[in-house]
Amino acid sequence: MIKCVDLKKVYSEGNNQVIALNGISLSVEKGEFVVIRGKSGCGKSTLLNMLGLIDKPTSGDILFEENSILSISEKEKARFRNKRIGYIFQSFYLDPAYSAMQNVEIPLVISGIQRDVRRQMAEEALKAVGMDSRGRTPAGALSGGEKQRICIARALVNNPDIILADEPCGSLDSQNTKQVMEILSKIHETGVTILMVTHSEEDARYASRRILMEDGRITEG
């Protein structure tokens, strides 16, 4: 489904060059739940950003359903992110002043869906994560676990082909972590592809495939 070929990312810091990704080749098939693990700074978040078209690689290619997606225009990439990718972050990126419902609606607003339809889709997404009763609550007033469930709902709302999750439980306690991972697991069971970055071995147990990264390379999986 999504494939990267010999992906390299080099950052320049003055005269020094930092190699964040050193020739990564990876293929994720439709319906897989893949976890990328590794120590902090090994390049796993950078890889996720490349695959999510948030950042550009220095060299290499990214294929989506066998088509290169690096050469498409910025606008097309934006539409691609909107329609086909769902994102979940450790730091949530929710507007605290917006209600949970409004936050979930953001990708639908960007894709130009009408208000009534938008509201219905957001309600369904909130229901899928068990947050339908908290839709009117401002995101700032939610607990960490609830915020992450709102993020999952937002990632789901456009029915994406793949969900990219960057340490989704990084700032949650064990109870909320379990809850969030179970929700992700259920979503995976519905056929959604998930690519998750984590350093937690426990979270990685929910995945169907585990990959280990070290110094910008895949060392296992």
Partner: protein, 390 residues
């Protein structure tokens, strides 16, 4: 989940009702500030004149058009002017000396239209007991005499004139120089009349009706004006003030100070509110960048959105910023003028102290607002410069 009190308060604060109330509060604040400024700018005599009143005489004499000069020249008999040689003009205490007018001798030193301004006429230097009268080191009293008067009395440049009892003998009018603007306005409104009274310097008045005057605000203290009036009464001048009007001056001057301070204070609040709005928006910008980027907007579209928001905010804020700086600068200069006046012209210590405290408050407010704004913005700018994916 059991809600903490803090969460409940936050929920209430984010409720639509509270949001609406906040909007109403902000709107009310803006309306109040606008109203205060409208009041300030439309007060009788205008608060604006607070700063400039003491300069009106000289400025207006020198800026008269030929037509206006002819108009005044044909109606005014003798004009006494106090001029600083360095072109700044300070008239305070002038009256004390003008009260000694019987002891003055004038030396007519210049004649004709070549005097450098449209007023023309004869400039005579006032003499006291044979010596040119000087106020401090650089102050020189002049007597401006119209051609008509010069012809009537046969004066020419260099002549010494004796003003002892001049007004009583001739029945002609003496007008103190700093009130030329007011006199001019008076004449313009009441074309046929030649002013026949002496106006306390530092004030000017407009004839609203034939028998009553509206008193404008001036940079002088009510006490000074009261002293002038008492002095004039003692010396048999035809006065225009009544006891009630004096009270009016007192309250008007007090009100003017209050309005000025309230205006500065309100604009200070507006600046703080606007800067906090900008600060809030800036703090949300990084988060919004991440949200919009990942949820399907391109960098160009985000740039347009943020650029549009910033431009809109700037366009909305610009008039406020202009008014704040305008109002504050004017009040600042007015207080400095008052302070300098009290120090250099022998004012009482209490007045000087009050001026100094006022100056301190205004400067303090400006400093506080600047520091708070720059600190908060600096913090936000640094935050904004960090990459989104950091």
């Amino acid at each position: 989940m059991k809600k903490s009190g803090f969460l409940i308060i936050r929920e209430i604060c984010h409720s639509p009702v509270i949001a609406f109330l906040r909007f109403i509060l902000l709107a009310a604040l803006l309306i109040m500030v606008f109203t205060m400024n409208v009041i300030a700018f439309s007060l009788p005599g205008k608060v604006d004149t607070y700063l400039h009143t003491s300069h009106l005489g000289a400025v207006d004499v020198l800026s008269l058009t030929p037509k206006e000069a002819d108009f005044i020249e044909n109606r005014m008999d003798l004009l006494l002017c106090g001029l600083y040689m360095d072109e700044s003009v300070l008239f305070r205490d002038y009256f004390v000396h003008l009260g000694d007018v019987d002891e003055y001798e004038g030396c007519v030193e210049y004649c004709g239209k070549e005097s450098g301004n449209y007023w023309g006429g004869i400039i005579a230097e006032l003499m006291i007991e044979g010596e040119p009268f000087r106020y401090e080191d650089n102050f020189l009293h002049k007597v401006w005499v119209s051609d008509r008067i010069a012809q009537r009395y046969g004066w020419k440049a260099g002549d010494r004139i004796n003003l002892n009892g001049w007004s009583e003998e001739t029945g002609d009018t003496i007008i103190e120089g700093s009130v030329v603007a007011g006199v001019y306005r008076y004449m313009r409104r009441d074309m046929g009349n030649t002013p026949d009274f002496l106006l306390p310097q530092g004030t000017y008045m407009e004839l609203m009706h034939t028998d009553s005057f509206e008193i404008s605000v001036c940079s002088r203290k009510a006490k000074d004006i009261r002293d002038d009036i008492a002095f004039l009464k003692e010396n048999g001048f035809d006065l225009i003030y009544s006891g009630d009007q004096l009270q009016e001056i007192d309250s008007l001057i007090g009100f003017t100070h209050a309005v000025n301070l309230i205006c500065v204070f309100c604009w200070g609040i507006v600046v703080v509110v606007l800067s906090s709005i900008i600060r809030l928006e800036a703090s949300r910008r990084k988060m919004w960048h991440a949200i919009l980027m990942t949820q399907g907007m391109s960098r160009g579209e985000i740039g347009q959105l943020i650029g549009g928001t910033v431009s809109f905010t700037a366009v909305c804020a610009a008039p406020f910023a202009y008014l704040v700086s305008y109002r504050t600068t004017k009040d600042l200069f007015a207080v400095i003028d008052e302070l300098l006046g009290n120090i250099t012209r022998g004012g009482d210590i209490k007045s000087a102290a009050v001026s100094l405290i006022s100056l301190g408050i205004i400067l303090g407010m400006i400093l506080l607002i600047s520091v708070l704004t720059s600190l908060s913005l600096k913090k936000e700018i640094i935050r904004m410069l960090k990459p989104v994916d950091e």
